[in-house]
Symmetry: C2
Subunit: 346 residues, 2 copies
């Protein structure tokens, strides 16, 4: 009988609405497909409300408590009344960096029945492997002559062989078990140091995967392909910032951010992985019970897969797929969607 | 009678095919709408072929010769057989930086008759003001422990109040004369130093434009809006790298990179501005005579406008608009398109 400890962090805004639905479906799938599995859920409170009350984001002690869990189930952070960056750096990025989330895995699939904004989307089914622990997200930078006409504000994009290799290696392995096509994105014609490091690492690791076809695209060019021919992609690997941008576009062309799940994976087994929708806290619709919880539910499937609960993961995926196919245009509330998907399990 | 000196740099690949068409239409429009205007064209040879032959890109002496011109009409650079970055940094970026091209102006418009890949594009008509002289393009960075497992490759994104203000000021002025709506894009929730500088500059300059509505979007979120609701934009202002990415997507949703023109503007009158299609050298189709020259022709219109030749600019725009409306799906060669548009002038 397996047992797991899962940390639950809804965060801000619609995080509080979608996370319970993700867990509702996860529980239903466990009951049906892995009965007897022991799961201990621990709630963590982090986000705007707590920051306003105490000035705290996520403390170092809490980071250590989180480390003792098998997985973290996360909602979203961000609030217009908190200085931009405070919650992001203090909560989600603190976990991504603290737990060496080398890979930010973002599947992009156009499910049957889902309407794409593209006139002729074709079949879309690819994975984005976004490096998760470095690049422009390293948080290294500063301002000189702050708030004067002579101000200089720098951000340092930090890229290491170590960090790039972890992500690239994971991407090759996934491509190998899929359609054997890897595309890496960068701007190595402009950011020559970082870009050439990426290139050398891809070439190096690629020698171990002779049957995986590799090609390179400038990130700007990939924007065009993503709307003109998204079916060309199998696995995309790219850096933290390009990955952030590309996955929002990928979500849009596959029917919207309400459906896009992600896993922040510690690929070395040295800390818990984290699962979250790629959407944000959406303050504009928060509290109305109208947010689509599908991304959170699909994130629960990724979490189940990561925990080795393959049947649970497949059951959730299947239930979501059925629900999407049956959905049509009728507006449904957040918990209605969760109930409908949970009801299809079993 | 006015007279102008225009430097012509086709560059690489399809640059050699589209630039002559741009000039063909420019000449036709001059003859019809500004007869007697004296234009002296000087050819500059820079690109892969010369680099292979001599190891040179664009020399400092040539940069000084270019400075004596009223405008530069550029094609594209980049070649798979030249180390990535060599031609880009040595030619186009050398001019953008050397001539203080503060604003990289990229209009995005869905012309009647042009098919968008979006199912329901609506009306699309916005300008992107991309900062052109700093950010991740500053070329500051390097590698430590090159090509070892301990390698660290950094790129420094450099942003100055001076550089950001020039671009932002231009964007406000353009928004003021249009639909009075300015959107600025960044990731200030992650790149807090650069992002907050941008925010402070936008707020500062915005005080002089009380009737322009300003809003902020994260760059990743803008990817979604650009495919779901591109009609929301009037003027977008953003940094060099985000601008590079966003304008390729903008080009894609308005019918493709073959139609997207740009001006690299020296807004202080201290050097020549440069006009170029936003597409690259397209080695895959170069030499076949099938590249669409429309972007180069529209770049010639931007150049005419910049030189104060308003009627010439309008005549080119009108001829392009008519040609696009009549185009249909029939494949036409590069010079056929140039001829057709030139024939509509007058
Ligand atoms: C909230 C923010 C820090 C985050 C990011 O930029 O990575 C988000 O956009 C995402 O993609 O998960
Ligand atoms: C060729 C390259 C350096 C250039 C850029 O990145 O700016 C191009 O993509 C563009 O957008 O003009």
């Amino acid at each position: 009988m397996s047992s797991f400890k899962i940390a639950v962090l809804p965060g801000d805004g619609i995080g509080h609405e979608v996370v319970p639905e993700g867990l509702k479906v996860f529980r239903a799938a466990l009951a049906a497909h892995a009965p007897g599995t022991q799961v201990e859920y621990s709630d963590f409170d982090a986000g705007a409300e707590r920051w306003h009350r105490t000035g705290e984001t996520l403390t170092d002690e809490e980071l250590e408590q989180l480390r003792g869990h098998d997985a973290i189930f996360f909602g979203a952070v961000g609030d217009p009344n908190v200085p931009s960056g405070t919650l992001e750096r203090g909560i989600i990025l603190k976990m991504r960096f603290g737990f060496e989330h080398a890979v930010n895995l973002r599947p992009s699939k156009l499910y049957p029945g889902v309407r794409s904004p593209l006139a002729d989307p074709g079949e879309i089914d690819f994975l984005v492997v976004r490096e998760g622990t470095e690049g422009a997200y390293a948080g290294q930078g500063g301002s000189l002559r702050y708030n004067t006409p002579q101000e200089v504000a720098n951000e340092v994009t930090v890229n290491t062989w170590y960090g790039v290799e972890r992500a690239v290696r994971y991407a090759f392995a996934r491509a190998q078990e899929r359609r054997k096509k890897l595309t890496y994105l960068h701007k190595h014609n402009v950011m020559v140091h970082a870009g050439h490091l990426w290139r050398r690492v891809v070439e190096h690791v690629g020698q171990e995967y002779p049957d995986v076809t590799v090609n390179y695209e400038h990130t700007d060019a990939a924007m065009i392909y993503l709307v003109q021919d998204p079916g060309r992609y199998d696995v995309i690997v790219t850096d933290n910032l390009f990955g952030d941008i590309v996955t929002d576009l990928a979500a849009a062309v596959t029917g919207g951010i309400g459906l896009a799940a992600s896993g922040n994976l510690n690929v070395e087994g040295t800390g818990p992985s984290l699962f979250e929708p790629i959407h944000g806290s959406a303050p504009d619709i928060a509290g109305k019970g109208i947010a689509d919880p599908t991304a959170s539910i699909l994130s629960a499937a990724l979490m189940a897969g990561h925990l080795g609960l393959t049947q649970v993961a497949e059951a959730i995926d299947r239930a979501v797929e059925e629900d999407l196919a049956a959905r049509g245009d009728a507006a449904r509330g957040t918990s209605e969607v969760g109930d409908a998907i949970a009801a299809r399990i079993g």
